[in-house]
Symmetry: D2
């Protein structure tokens, strides 16, 4: 049987993988970024064992295509998710580091 800590880690990672592949490609601009952030947070918060989530999309890399908008990409995400299973907790993050949307356990 996995420990509660392992399960908390497992649940946090599911949510990071899920949100990345659900929302990558969504049309976004600096004006609509807050709406997309809120939608992603609302989607994560519904999922089991989540106690906290913050999603921030980096406006500075929202380069405009010829039609004046951008698309959600790995480069934009700054996400922190916390989970609890029984007595155990996990905080994990998704951040763009060294050319890669890195997901890692931070606590």
């Amino acid at each position: 049987m996995p420990t509660e800590r392992e399960q908390a880690v497992f649940e946090a990672a599911i949510k990071l993988g899920a949100l990345y592949h659900q929302f990558v490609g969504t049309p976004v601009s600096q004006e609509t970024a807050a709406t997309i952030e809120e939608a992603i947070e609302s989607a994560v918060r519904l999922q089991p064992y989540v106690t906290d989530v913050t999603v921030r999309l980096d406006r500075s890399v929202m380069l405009e295509n010829p039609f004046g908008y951008s698309e959600v990409s790995g480069r934009m995400f700054d996400v922190t998710i916390s989970t609890r299973v029984g007595e155990a907790t996990c905080t994990a993050a998704l951040r763009y580091e060294n050319g890669y949307p890195m997901m890692s356990i931070i606590d």
Copy 2:
């Protein structure tokens, strides 16, 4: 060369196909449905030639899974999109009909 009307039709259909496959699978509940609707509308509105869009997710088919939420599915969508290319316009819709998320030109 396609006519302006054909281009307006083409552009409306792109957006319908895009939003369906971008957002299907997103965790949603009756409490968060408005947030997801707003995010989808914001994403469609950024795209070229769109003049109007309304997205409504049918709460009555948001059946709760064992963890108390649902996922956006073809069954939920009621979407109307209008486009303009030059002098021509098109209004198209996505609605669940006869067991299928039907996309059609309505004007």
Copy 3:
């Protein structure tokens, strides 16, 4: 009522918008690109009114991330789709042009 030509145009565009947003973000490499191309083609071919589809992902822009793979992006697509509704047909394409994954009616 829309003409058959308008409907053929509409159906082709739905498929282009759909495949783009369904598959963007999929992990891919030069070694697996053919498998992903085949999967996309199989998915498009199932959809109504499609008579032909070819999907080519540009290997030359599959830059490797630090873990040695890439993700399907708008930059990679070269897609041609043909549809028929009644007597009318449409051929449409998705190609990366001027920094944008451009969808257009080509016949």
Copy 4:
């Protein structure tokens, strides 16, 4: 610092969450299911720390819509993924149980 075991668990879960939300909604039929399974496996295998993956889509729940095909849904997945980080390993699965696409650590 997380243990190697926690990291192996974390990496397995990322892949499960990712593949679910990447591929849900993909048009599929009994005839094309093997192609989609192969594409999903190829995408998972590219990702870091994966040592093994098998993806099976349940043909018996591929109900045909009026146009004769189905879409990948949570109900169809039977996936097993193994990861290794240093000396530690994890095997995790995605299976439809009690009306939910359940992801769990199985070893």
